[in-house]
Protein backbone atom coordinates (compact mmCIF):
# COMPACT_ATOMS: atom_id res chain seq x y z
CA UNK A 1 0.00 0.00 0.00
CA UNK A 2 1.10 3.55 -0.60
CA UNK A 3 1.22 6.69 1.51
CA UNK A 4 -1.48 8.27 3.59
CA UNK A 5 -4.03 10.00 1.38
CA UNK A 6 -6.39 11.38 4.01
CA UNK A 7 -5.29 12.23 7.50
CA UNK A 8 -7.79 13.38 10.10
CA UNK A 9 -6.45 14.71 13.41
CA UNK A 10 -8.46 15.61 16.52
CA UNK A 11 -11.45 16.44 14.42
CA UNK A 12 -14.48 17.95 16.16
CA UNK A 13 -17.76 18.94 14.66
CA UNK A 14 -20.90 20.10 16.39
CA UNK A 15 -24.01 21.97 15.39
CA UNK A 16 -26.44 24.13 17.33
CA UNK A 17 -29.96 22.78 17.61
CA UNK A 18 -33.21 24.78 17.72
CA UNK A 19 -32.97 25.22 21.49
CA UNK A 20 -29.50 26.70 21.23
CA UNK A 21 -27.66 23.63 22.55
CA UNK A 22 -24.42 22.45 21.00
CA UNK A 23 -24.81 18.93 19.65
CA UNK A 24 -21.48 17.19 19.13
CA UNK A 25 -21.35 14.90 16.10
CA UNK A 26 -17.64 14.07 15.86
CA UNK A 27 -15.40 14.03 18.94
CA UNK A 28 -11.60 14.19 18.65
CA UNK A 29 -11.65 11.87 15.68
CA UNK A 30 -8.31 10.53 14.43
CA UNK A 31 -8.11 8.61 11.19
CA UNK A 32 -5.71 7.78 8.39
CA UNK A 33 -6.71 6.46 4.98
CA UNK A 34 -4.02 5.04 2.73
CA UNK A 35 -3.95 5.90 -0.94
CA UNK A 36 -5.47 3.16 -3.12
CA UNK A 37 -7.33 1.44 -0.30
CA UNK A 38 -10.94 0.27 -0.22
CA UNK A 39 -12.39 1.28 3.12
CA UNK A 40 -15.91 0.80 4.47
CA UNK A 41 -17.25 3.16 7.10
CA UNK A 42 -20.01 1.54 9.15
CA UNK A 43 -22.19 3.11 11.77
CA UNK A 44 -25.85 3.57 12.61
CA UNK A 45 -27.77 6.71 11.66
CA UNK A 46 -26.40 9.63 13.61
CA UNK A 47 -23.02 8.05 14.25
CA UNK A 48 -21.36 10.88 12.35
CA UNK A 49 -20.33 8.96 9.24
CA UNK A 50 -22.00 11.23 6.69
CA UNK A 51 -20.72 14.30 8.52
CA UNK A 52 -17.18 12.99 8.17
CA UNK A 53 -17.66 12.67 4.41
CA UNK A 54 -18.95 16.22 4.08
CA UNK A 55 -16.03 17.56 6.12
CA UNK A 56 -13.46 15.88 3.87
CA UNK A 57 -15.08 17.70 0.95
CA UNK A 58 -15.49 20.96 2.88
CA UNK A 59 -19.24 21.02 2.35
CA UNK A 60 -19.12 21.47 6.13
CA UNK A 61 -16.39 23.22 8.11
CA UNK A 62 -15.02 21.52 11.24
CA UNK A 63 -15.41 23.10 14.66
CA UNK A 64 -11.78 22.25 15.36
CA UNK A 65 -9.12 19.82 14.19
CA UNK A 66 -7.13 19.23 11.06
CA UNK A 67 -7.80 17.36 7.83
CA UNK A 68 -5.03 16.77 5.32
CA UNK A 69 -5.97 15.43 1.88
CA UNK A 70 -3.24 14.46 -0.54
CA UNK A 71 -0.73 16.56 1.38
CA UNK A 72 -2.93 19.65 1.43
CA UNK A 73 -4.19 21.01 4.74
CA UNK A 74 -7.78 21.74 3.77
CA UNK A 75 -8.66 23.09 7.20
CA UNK A 76 -6.01 25.80 6.96
CA UNK A 77 -7.32 29.34 7.21
CA UNK A 78 -5.14 30.22 4.22
CA UNK A 79 -6.83 27.78 1.87
CA UNK A 80 -7.53 29.54 -1.41
CA UNK A 81 -10.66 29.04 -3.44
CA UNK A 82 -8.65 27.32 -6.16
CA UNK A 83 -7.26 24.89 -3.60
CA UNK A 84 -10.77 24.24 -2.32
CA UNK A 85 -11.91 23.29 -5.82
CA UNK A 86 -8.73 21.30 -6.41
CA UNK A 87 -9.68 19.26 -3.34
CA UNK A 88 -13.23 18.76 -4.60
CA UNK A 89 -11.84 17.60 -7.92
CA UNK A 90 -9.54 15.14 -6.14
CA UNK A 91 -12.18 13.77 -3.81
CA UNK A 92 -15.44 13.03 -5.59
CA UNK A 93 -18.70 12.37 -3.78
CA UNK A 94 -21.60 10.11 -4.70
CA UNK A 95 -24.70 10.65 -2.60
CA UNK A 96 -27.64 8.60 -1.42
CA UNK A 97 -30.54 9.71 -3.59
CA UNK A 98 -29.71 8.98 -7.24
CA UNK A 99 -32.36 11.42 -8.47
CA UNK A 100 -31.03 14.42 -6.64
CA UNK A 101 -27.51 14.51 -8.03
CA UNK A 102 -28.08 14.41 -11.78
CA UNK A 103 -28.23 17.86 -13.36
CA UNK A 104 -28.83 17.39 -17.06
CA UNK A 105 -31.66 15.85 -19.06
CA UNK A 106 -29.35 13.57 -21.03
CA UNK A 107 -26.95 11.03 -19.50
CA UNK A 108 -23.82 12.07 -21.38
CA UNK A 109 -24.52 15.77 -20.85
CA UNK A 110 -24.72 15.08 -17.14
CA UNK A 111 -21.41 13.24 -17.06
CA UNK A 112 -19.85 16.20 -18.88
CA UNK A 113 -21.02 18.61 -16.18
CA UNK A 114 -18.01 18.13 -13.85
CA UNK A 115 -15.26 18.42 -16.49
CA UNK A 116 -17.09 21.42 -17.99
CA UNK A 117 -16.88 23.15 -14.62
CA UNK A 118 -13.16 22.39 -14.52
CA UNK A 119 -12.68 24.15 -17.85
CA UNK A 120 -11.44 21.08 -19.71
CA UNK A 121 -11.32 21.39 -23.52
CA UNK A 122 -14.27 20.09 -25.56
CA UNK A 123 -12.39 17.21 -27.19
CA UNK A 124 -10.94 16.10 -23.87
CA UNK A 125 -14.40 16.19 -22.25
CA UNK A 126 -15.84 14.07 -25.06
CA UNK A 127 -13.10 11.50 -24.50
CA UNK A 128 -13.50 11.47 -20.72
CA UNK A 129 -17.28 11.10 -20.99
CA UNK A 130 -16.96 8.14 -23.35
CA UNK A 131 -14.35 6.50 -21.11
CA UNK A 132 -16.44 7.07 -17.99
CA UNK A 133 -19.54 5.63 -19.67
CA UNK A 134 -17.55 2.54 -20.60
CA UNK A 135 -16.09 2.16 -17.09
CA UNK A 136 -19.54 2.04 -15.49
CA UNK A 137 -21.03 0.02 -18.35
CA UNK A 138 -23.60 2.62 -19.42
CA UNK A 139 -22.41 3.35 -22.97
CA UNK A 140 -25.66 2.20 -24.56
CA UNK A 141 -27.61 4.66 -22.40
CA UNK A 142 -25.52 7.70 -23.35
CA UNK A 143 -28.41 9.52 -25.04
CA UNK A 144 -31.10 8.45 -22.58
CA UNK A 145 -32.84 10.71 -20.15
CA UNK A 146 -32.07 9.98 -16.47
CA UNK A 147 -35.69 9.43 -15.54
CA UNK A 148 -35.88 6.44 -17.89
CA UNK A 149 -33.21 4.61 -15.86
CA UNK A 150 -33.42 2.30 -12.84
CA UNK A 151 -32.00 3.37 -9.48
CA UNK A 152 -28.81 1.36 -9.95
CA UNK A 153 -28.30 2.78 -13.44
CA UNK A 154 -28.80 6.35 -12.24
CA UNK A 155 -26.26 5.76 -9.51
CA UNK A 156 -23.78 4.45 -12.10
CA UNK A 157 -24.33 7.62 -14.14
CA UNK A 158 -23.61 9.66 -11.02
CA UNK A 159 -20.40 7.65 -10.54
CA UNK A 160 -19.42 8.25 -14.19
CA UNK A 161 -19.96 11.98 -13.62
CA UNK A 162 -17.42 11.82 -10.82
CA UNK A 163 -14.91 9.62 -12.70
CA UNK A 164 -14.92 12.09 -15.59
CA UNK A 165 -13.36 14.61 -13.20
CA UNK A 166 -10.46 12.17 -12.70
CA UNK A 167 -10.49 12.11 -8.90
CA UNK A 168 -7.94 10.26 -6.78
CA UNK A 169 -10.54 9.31 -4.22
CA UNK A 170 -14.32 8.80 -4.24
CA UNK A 171 -16.53 8.90 -1.18
CA UNK A 172 -19.79 6.98 -1.42
CA UNK A 173 -22.18 8.48 1.10
CA UNK A 174 -24.75 5.68 1.58
CA UNK A 175 -24.98 5.42 -2.18
CA UNK A 176 -26.56 1.96 -2.00
CA UNK A 177 -29.16 2.68 0.70
CA UNK A 178 -32.04 3.48 -1.64
CA UNK A 179 -31.39 0.74 -4.18
CA UNK A 180 -32.90 -2.72 -4.62
CA UNK A 181 -30.60 -5.78 -4.34
CA UNK A 182 -29.70 -5.85 -8.04
CA UNK A 183 -28.99 -2.11 -8.04
CA UNK A 184 -26.82 -2.53 -4.97
CA UNK A 185 -24.88 -5.29 -6.65
CA UNK A 186 -24.33 -3.14 -9.78
CA UNK A 187 -22.99 -0.28 -7.68
CA UNK A 188 -20.82 -2.50 -5.45
CA UNK A 189 -19.29 -4.20 -8.51
CA UNK A 190 -18.49 -0.77 -9.97
CA UNK A 191 -16.98 0.44 -6.70
CA UNK A 192 -14.72 -2.58 -6.40
CA UNK A 193 -13.63 -2.31 -10.03
CA UNK A 194 -12.76 1.37 -9.62
CA UNK A 195 -10.50 0.45 -6.74
CA UNK A 196 -8.90 -2.69 -8.17
CA UNK A 197 -8.46 -1.60 -11.78
CA UNK A 198 -8.04 2.15 -11.52
CA UNK A 199 -6.43 2.38 -8.10
CA UNK A 200 -8.93 4.96 -6.86
CA UNK A 201 -9.08 5.31 -3.08
CA UNK A 202 -12.58 4.46 -1.91
CA UNK A 203 -14.45 5.41 1.24
CA UNK A 204 -17.72 3.50 1.23
CA UNK A 205 -20.16 4.69 3.86
CA UNK A 206 -22.89 2.13 4.44
CA UNK A 207 -24.90 0.25 6.99
CA UNK A 208 -25.00 -3.00 5.06
CA UNK A 209 -22.49 -5.27 6.72
CA UNK A 210 -22.25 -7.59 3.71
CA UNK A 211 -20.98 -4.65 1.63
CA UNK A 212 -18.47 -3.78 4.33
CA UNK A 213 -17.29 -7.40 4.26
CA UNK A 214 -16.22 -6.90 0.61
CA UNK A 215 -13.82 -4.06 1.53
CA UNK A 216 -10.18 -4.27 2.66
CA UNK A 217 -10.73 -2.40 5.85
CA UNK A 218 -13.75 -1.57 8.00
CA UNK A 219 -14.02 1.44 10.28
CA UNK A 220 -16.92 1.44 12.71
CA UNK A 221 -18.00 4.84 13.94
CA UNK A 222 -20.09 5.25 17.05
CA UNK A 223 -20.97 8.41 18.87
CA UNK A 224 -18.53 10.47 16.80
CA UNK A 225 -15.54 8.26 17.50
CA UNK A 226 -13.81 5.28 15.91
CA UNK A 227 -15.12 2.26 17.77
CA UNK A 228 -13.48 -0.48 15.70
CA UNK A 229 -10.95 -0.42 12.87
CA UNK A 230 -9.40 -3.35 11.05
CA UNK A 231 -9.86 -6.11 8.51
CA UNK A 232 -13.50 -7.19 8.03
CA UNK A 233 -12.85 -10.53 9.78
CA UNK A 234 -11.34 -8.79 12.80
CA UNK A 235 -14.09 -6.20 13.05
CA UNK A 236 -17.00 -8.61 12.66
CA UNK A 237 -15.63 -10.90 15.37
CA UNK A 238 -16.77 -8.29 17.90
CA UNK A 239 -20.33 -9.58 17.76
CA UNK A 240 -21.46 -8.26 21.12
CA UNK A 241 -20.03 -4.79 20.66
CA UNK A 242 -21.50 -4.42 17.17
CA UNK A 243 -24.93 -5.50 18.34
CA UNK A 244 -24.77 -3.13 21.29
CA UNK A 245 -24.26 -0.17 18.94
CA UNK A 246 -27.14 -1.20 16.71
CA UNK A 247 -25.25 -2.95 13.91
CA UNK A 248 -25.61 -6.44 12.48
CA UNK A 249 -23.01 -9.10 11.88
CA UNK A 250 -23.16 -11.64 9.06
CA UNK A 251 -25.27 -14.68 10.04
CA UNK A 252 -22.24 -16.93 9.55
CA UNK A 253 -20.37 -15.10 12.28
CA UNK A 254 -23.50 -14.95 14.41
CA UNK A 255 -24.07 -18.71 14.38
CA UNK A 256 -20.39 -19.47 15.08
CA UNK A 257 -20.50 -17.02 17.95
CA UNK A 258 -23.61 -18.69 19.37
CA UNK A 259 -21.88 -22.05 19.20
CA UNK A 260 -18.86 -20.61 20.94
CA UNK A 261 -21.06 -19.27 23.74
CA UNK A 262 -22.37 -22.83 24.17
CA UNK A 263 -18.80 -23.88 24.85
CA UNK A 264 -17.93 -25.27 21.41
CA UNK A 265 -14.29 -24.74 20.53
CA UNK A 266 -14.53 -22.79 17.30
CA UNK A 267 -13.08 -19.77 15.44
CA UNK A 268 -15.73 -17.16 14.68
CA UNK A 269 -14.07 -14.87 12.10
CA UNK A 270 -15.58 -16.57 9.05
CA UNK A 271 -17.48 -14.19 6.79
CA UNK A 272 -18.30 -16.37 3.80
CA UNK A 273 -20.62 -19.37 3.82
CA UNK A 274 -17.83 -21.64 2.56
CA UNK A 275 -15.33 -20.65 5.24
CA UNK A 276 -18.02 -21.02 7.87
CA UNK A 277 -18.97 -24.48 6.61
CA UNK A 278 -15.28 -25.47 6.66
CA UNK A 279 -15.04 -24.36 10.26
CA UNK A 280 -18.13 -26.34 11.31
CA UNK A 281 -17.06 -29.44 9.37
CA UNK A 282 -13.77 -29.35 11.27
CA UNK A 283 -15.77 -30.01 14.44
CA UNK A 284 -17.25 -33.14 12.97
CA UNK A 285 -13.99 -34.18 11.39
CA UNK A 286 -12.35 -34.14 14.80
CA UNK A 287 -15.26 -35.92 16.45
CA UNK A 288 -15.39 -38.71 13.92
Amino acid sequence: MSDTFIKVEKLNFSYTDDDGHDVPVLRDLDLEIEGGSLVAVLGHNGSGKSTLAKLINLILTPTSGKITVDGLDITSSELTEDQLFENRKNVGMVFQNPDNQLVATIVEEDIAFGPENLGVSSDEIRKRVDDALKTVGMTEFARHSPHQLSGGQKQRVAIAGIIAMMPKCIIFDESTAMLDPSGRREVMDTIIRLNREYGITILHITHYMNEAAMCDRVIVLNDGKVELDGKPTEVFSNVKLLESIGLDVPQTVEVLNELKIEGVNIEIDKLSVDECADEIMKLFGENK
Binding site: I106, E116, I125, M165
Partner: protein, 273 residues
Protein backbone atom coordinates in the same frame (compact mmCIF):
# COMPACT_ATOMS: atom_id res chain seq x y z
CA UNK B 1 -53.01 9.94 -15.07
CA UNK B 2 -50.73 12.93 -14.82
CA UNK B 3 -47.84 10.81 -16.03
CA UNK B 4 -49.30 10.69 -19.53
CA UNK B 5 -48.86 14.41 -20.12
CA UNK B 6 -45.87 14.89 -22.38
CA UNK B 7 -43.84 17.98 -21.75
CA UNK B 8 -41.53 19.74 -24.15
CA UNK B 9 -42.26 17.08 -26.74
CA UNK B 10 -39.24 16.14 -28.77
CA UNK B 11 -39.22 13.47 -31.47
CA UNK B 12 -35.67 12.27 -32.06
CA UNK B 13 -34.75 11.84 -35.69
CA UNK B 14 -32.01 12.13 -38.22
CA UNK B 15 -33.44 14.52 -40.82
CA UNK B 16 -31.90 17.73 -42.12
CA UNK B 17 -34.22 19.69 -39.85
CA UNK B 18 -32.99 17.73 -36.82
CA UNK B 19 -29.38 18.26 -37.78
CA UNK B 20 -29.51 22.03 -38.22
CA UNK B 21 -27.55 24.02 -35.69
CA UNK B 22 -29.97 24.87 -32.88
CA UNK B 23 -28.80 28.52 -32.85
CA UNK B 24 -29.60 28.71 -36.54
CA UNK B 25 -32.99 27.15 -35.90
CA UNK B 26 -33.90 29.86 -33.42
CA UNK B 27 -32.92 32.54 -35.94
CA UNK B 28 -34.75 30.75 -38.74
CA UNK B 29 -37.86 30.45 -36.61
CA UNK B 30 -37.88 34.18 -35.94
CA UNK B 31 -37.38 34.87 -39.66
CA UNK B 32 -40.18 32.46 -40.49
CA UNK B 33 -42.58 34.19 -38.10
CA UNK B 34 -41.73 37.53 -39.74
CA UNK B 35 -42.36 36.08 -43.19
CA UNK B 36 -45.78 34.80 -42.11
CA UNK B 37 -46.79 38.25 -40.98
CA UNK B 38 -45.46 39.79 -44.19
CA UNK B 39 -47.80 37.68 -46.34
CA UNK B 40 -50.61 39.86 -47.61
CA UNK B 41 -52.32 38.22 -50.62
CA UNK B 42 -53.41 34.83 -51.83
CA UNK B 43 -50.16 34.02 -53.64
CA UNK B 44 -48.00 34.74 -50.67
CA UNK B 45 -50.36 32.79 -48.42
CA UNK B 46 -50.14 29.78 -50.67
CA UNK B 47 -46.35 30.04 -50.38
CA UNK B 48 -46.55 30.20 -46.56
CA UNK B 49 -48.85 27.18 -46.29
CA UNK B 50 -46.74 25.23 -48.77
CA UNK B 51 -43.59 25.97 -46.80
CA UNK B 52 -45.21 24.75 -43.56
CA UNK B 53 -46.29 21.52 -45.28
CA UNK B 54 -42.83 21.09 -46.75
CA UNK B 55 -41.27 21.46 -43.29
CA UNK B 56 -43.51 18.72 -41.90
CA UNK B 57 -42.62 16.40 -44.76
CA UNK B 58 -38.88 17.03 -44.56
CA UNK B 59 -38.76 16.58 -40.78
CA UNK B 60 -40.73 13.30 -41.04
CA UNK B 61 -43.07 14.27 -38.21
CA UNK B 62 -46.35 12.44 -38.77
CA UNK B 63 -49.40 14.51 -39.74
CA UNK B 64 -51.30 12.77 -36.97
CA UNK B 65 -49.00 14.30 -34.38
CA UNK B 66 -49.37 17.69 -35.99
CA UNK B 67 -53.16 17.45 -35.98
CA UNK B 68 -53.11 16.36 -32.34
CA UNK B 69 -50.99 19.34 -31.38
CA UNK B 70 -53.60 21.62 -33.03
CA UNK B 71 -56.36 20.47 -30.70
CA UNK B 72 -55.82 23.10 -28.02
CA UNK B 73 -55.82 25.70 -30.78
CA UNK B 74 -59.36 25.00 -31.97
CA UNK B 75 -60.84 27.39 -29.45
CA UNK B 76 -58.53 30.23 -30.42
CA UNK B 77 -59.24 29.64 -34.09
CA UNK B 78 -62.99 29.55 -33.57
CA UNK B 79 -62.80 32.72 -31.52
CA UNK B 80 -60.84 34.76 -34.06
CA UNK B 81 -62.94 33.42 -36.93
CA UNK B 82 -66.10 34.44 -35.12
CA UNK B 83 -64.91 38.02 -34.71
CA UNK B 84 -63.42 38.39 -38.15
CA UNK B 85 -66.48 36.95 -39.81
CA UNK B 86 -69.08 39.15 -38.15
CA UNK B 87 -67.24 42.34 -37.46
CA UNK B 88 -65.36 42.91 -40.69
CA UNK B 89 -67.14 45.27 -43.05
CA UNK B 90 -66.48 45.63 -46.75
CA UNK B 91 -68.02 46.19 -50.16
CA UNK B 92 -69.35 42.78 -51.12
CA UNK B 93 -72.22 41.70 -48.91
CA UNK B 94 -72.65 37.93 -48.97
CA UNK B 95 -75.28 37.15 -46.35
CA UNK B 96 -77.55 39.44 -44.44
CA UNK B 97 -80.16 38.43 -41.90
CA UNK B 98 -81.50 40.05 -38.74
CA UNK B 99 -78.65 42.33 -37.59
CA UNK B 100 -75.85 40.23 -39.01
CA UNK B 101 -73.99 41.03 -42.19
CA UNK B 102 -71.26 38.85 -43.56
CA UNK B 103 -69.01 40.42 -46.16
CA UNK B 104 -66.67 38.68 -48.58
CA UNK B 105 -63.79 40.61 -46.99
CA UNK B 106 -64.67 39.04 -43.63
CA UNK B 107 -64.53 35.53 -45.08
CA UNK B 108 -61.20 36.23 -46.77
CA UNK B 109 -59.80 37.73 -43.60
CA UNK B 110 -60.95 34.80 -41.47
CA UNK B 111 -59.46 32.19 -43.79
CA UNK B 112 -56.16 34.02 -43.95
CA UNK B 113 -56.09 34.36 -40.19
CA UNK B 114 -56.64 30.62 -39.73
CA UNK B 115 -53.88 29.88 -42.23
CA UNK B 116 -51.57 32.32 -40.53
CA UNK B 117 -52.07 30.90 -37.04
CA UNK B 118 -51.79 27.27 -38.11
CA UNK B 119 -48.69 27.87 -40.23
CA UNK B 120 -47.16 29.76 -37.36
CA UNK B 121 -47.79 26.89 -34.97
CA UNK B 122 -46.71 24.15 -37.36
CA UNK B 123 -43.60 26.04 -38.46
CA UNK B 124 -42.34 26.87 -34.99
CA UNK B 125 -43.07 23.47 -33.43
CA UNK B 126 -41.49 21.56 -36.29
CA UNK B 127 -38.47 23.85 -36.49
CA UNK B 128 -37.94 24.08 -32.76
CA UNK B 129 -39.62 21.87 -30.16
CA UNK B 130 -40.34 18.72 -32.17
CA UNK B 131 -36.90 18.42 -33.73
CA UNK B 132 -34.61 19.97 -31.12
CA UNK B 133 -33.93 18.41 -27.72
CA UNK B 134 -34.71 20.75 -24.81
CA UNK B 135 -31.09 20.77 -23.73
CA UNK B 136 -29.95 21.82 -27.22
CA UNK B 137 -32.52 24.59 -27.14
CA UNK B 138 -31.43 26.02 -23.80
CA UNK B 139 -27.82 25.60 -24.82
CA UNK B 140 -28.40 27.48 -28.08
CA UNK B 141 -30.34 30.17 -26.29
CA UNK B 142 -27.50 30.66 -23.83
CA UNK B 143 -24.98 31.01 -26.64
CA UNK B 144 -27.15 33.32 -28.72
CA UNK B 145 -27.82 35.57 -25.75
CA UNK B 146 -24.26 35.46 -24.42
CA UNK B 147 -23.45 38.98 -25.69
CA UNK B 148 -26.02 40.20 -23.17
CA UNK B 149 -23.63 39.12 -20.42
CA UNK B 150 -21.74 42.31 -21.17
CA UNK B 151 -24.64 44.28 -19.79
CA UNK B 152 -24.70 41.99 -16.71
CA UNK B 153 -27.69 39.89 -17.67
CA UNK B 154 -27.44 36.44 -15.97
CA UNK B 155 -27.65 34.48 -19.21
CA UNK B 156 -25.80 31.42 -17.95
CA UNK B 157 -27.79 31.25 -14.72
CA UNK B 158 -31.00 31.50 -16.66
CA UNK B 159 -30.14 28.62 -18.96
CA UNK B 160 -28.88 26.53 -16.00
CA UNK B 161 -32.26 27.07 -14.36
CA UNK B 162 -34.03 25.98 -17.52
CA UNK B 163 -31.94 22.81 -17.73
CA UNK B 164 -32.56 21.89 -14.11
CA UNK B 165 -36.28 22.58 -14.48
CA UNK B 166 -36.45 20.32 -17.53
CA UNK B 167 -34.49 17.66 -15.68
CA UNK B 168 -36.79 17.69 -12.64
CA UNK B 169 -40.21 18.07 -14.25
CA UNK B 170 -40.63 14.31 -14.90
CA UNK B 171 -39.32 13.51 -11.42
CA UNK B 172 -41.78 15.86 -9.74
CA UNK B 173 -44.66 14.70 -11.92
CA UNK B 174 -43.94 11.14 -10.84
CA UNK B 175 -43.69 12.27 -7.25
CA UNK B 176 -47.06 14.05 -7.43
CA UNK B 177 -48.60 10.83 -8.67
CA UNK B 178 -47.07 8.90 -5.79
CA UNK B 179 -48.15 11.37 -3.10
CA UNK B 180 -51.64 11.45 -4.57
CA UNK B 181 -51.92 7.66 -4.36
CA UNK B 182 -50.56 7.68 -0.82
CA UNK B 183 -53.15 10.23 0.34
CA UNK B 184 -55.90 8.38 -1.50
CA UNK B 185 -54.89 5.31 0.49
CA UNK B 186 -55.59 7.40 3.60
CA UNK B 187 -59.06 8.15 2.30
CA UNK B 188 -58.39 11.58 0.79
CA UNK B 189 -61.01 12.49 -1.80
CA UNK B 190 -59.95 14.72 -4.68
CA UNK B 191 -62.91 14.19 -6.95
CA UNK B 192 -66.07 15.23 -5.14
CA UNK B 193 -67.40 18.22 -3.24
CA UNK B 194 -67.52 21.94 -3.90
CA UNK B 195 -64.70 23.86 -5.55
CA UNK B 196 -63.60 25.11 -2.13
CA UNK B 197 -63.50 21.58 -0.75
CA UNK B 198 -61.54 20.33 -3.70
CA UNK B 199 -59.02 23.13 -3.36
CA UNK B 200 -58.60 22.26 0.31
CA UNK B 201 -58.14 18.62 -0.59
CA UNK B 202 -55.00 19.61 -2.50
CA UNK B 203 -53.17 20.68 0.66
CA UNK B 204 -52.10 17.11 1.56
CA UNK B 205 -50.49 16.92 -1.88
CA UNK B 206 -48.98 20.38 -2.21
CA UNK B 207 -47.25 20.51 1.18
CA UNK B 208 -45.34 17.22 0.78
CA UNK B 209 -44.55 18.17 -2.81
CA UNK B 210 -43.04 21.53 -1.83
CA UNK B 211 -41.07 20.00 0.99
CA UNK B 212 -39.73 17.35 -1.32
CA UNK B 213 -38.85 19.92 -3.99
CA UNK B 214 -36.87 21.96 -1.45
CA UNK B 215 -35.08 18.87 -0.21
CA UNK B 216 -34.18 17.92 -3.75
CA UNK B 217 -32.98 21.45 -4.49
CA UNK B 218 -30.78 21.34 -1.40
CA UNK B 219 -29.31 17.95 -2.31
CA UNK B 220 -28.73 19.03 -5.87
CA UNK B 221 -26.95 22.22 -4.80
CA UNK B 222 -24.57 20.17 -2.64
CA UNK B 223 -23.97 17.68 -5.44
CA UNK B 224 -23.25 20.50 -7.90
CA UNK B 225 -20.80 22.10 -5.50
CA UNK B 226 -19.04 18.76 -5.14
CA UNK B 227 -18.73 18.64 -8.91
CA UNK B 228 -16.87 21.95 -8.79
CA UNK B 229 -19.69 24.10 -10.11
CA UNK B 230 -18.96 27.78 -9.58
CA UNK B 231 -21.12 29.60 -12.06
CA UNK B 232 -20.62 30.21 -15.74
CA UNK B 233 -17.12 31.76 -15.62
CA UNK B 234 -14.36 29.49 -16.83
CA UNK B 235 -16.81 26.80 -17.84
CA UNK B 236 -16.25 24.94 -21.09
CA UNK B 237 -18.78 22.83 -23.00
CA UNK B 238 -18.59 19.32 -24.33
CA UNK B 239 -20.68 19.95 -27.44
CA UNK B 240 -19.10 22.37 -29.84
CA UNK B 241 -21.64 24.07 -32.03
CA UNK B 242 -20.24 24.56 -35.47
CA UNK B 243 -22.14 25.94 -38.40
CA UNK B 244 -22.21 23.45 -41.25
CA UNK B 245 -22.84 23.99 -44.93
CA UNK B 246 -26.50 23.05 -44.48
CA UNK B 247 -26.91 25.86 -41.96
CA UNK B 248 -25.76 28.41 -44.53
CA UNK B 249 -27.98 26.71 -47.09
CA UNK B 250 -30.93 27.04 -44.76
CA UNK B 251 -30.34 30.74 -44.18
CA UNK B 252 -30.03 31.41 -47.91
CA UNK B 253 -33.25 29.48 -48.48
CA UNK B 254 -34.97 31.52 -45.81
CA UNK B 255 -33.74 34.79 -47.33
CA UNK B 256 -35.00 33.66 -50.72
CA UNK B 257 -38.32 32.71 -49.14
CA UNK B 258 -38.82 36.11 -47.55
CA UNK B 259 -37.88 37.88 -50.78
CA UNK B 260 -40.35 35.62 -52.57
CA UNK B 261 -43.13 36.56 -50.14
CA UNK B 262 -42.45 40.26 -50.66
CA UNK B 263 -42.41 39.74 -54.41
CA UNK B 264 -45.66 37.74 -54.36
CA UNK B 265 -47.27 40.46 -52.26
CA UNK B 266 -46.58 42.90 -55.10
CA UNK B 267 -47.97 40.57 -57.76
CA UNK B 268 -51.52 41.51 -58.76
CA UNK B 269 -53.92 39.12 -57.12
CA UNK B 270 -57.74 38.89 -56.98
CA UNK B 271 -57.81 38.17 -53.27
CA UNK B 272 -55.79 40.15 -50.77
CA UNK B 273 -56.05 41.63 -47.34
Amino acid sequence: MIKDITLGQFFPGNTVVHKLDPRMKIILTIAYIVSIFLAKNMWSFIAVVASALLLVIVSKISFKTILKSMKPLIFVLAFTTFFNLFWTTGDVLLISFWKINIYLEGVVFSVMMILRITSLLVGTTVLLTYTTSPIMLTDALERLLSPLRLIKLPVHEFSMMMTIALRFIPTLVEETDKIMSAQKARGADFESGSLMRRAKALIPILIPLFISAFRRADDLATAMECRCYRGGDGRTRMTKLKLALRDFGAIILMAAFITGIVFLNLTPCPISM
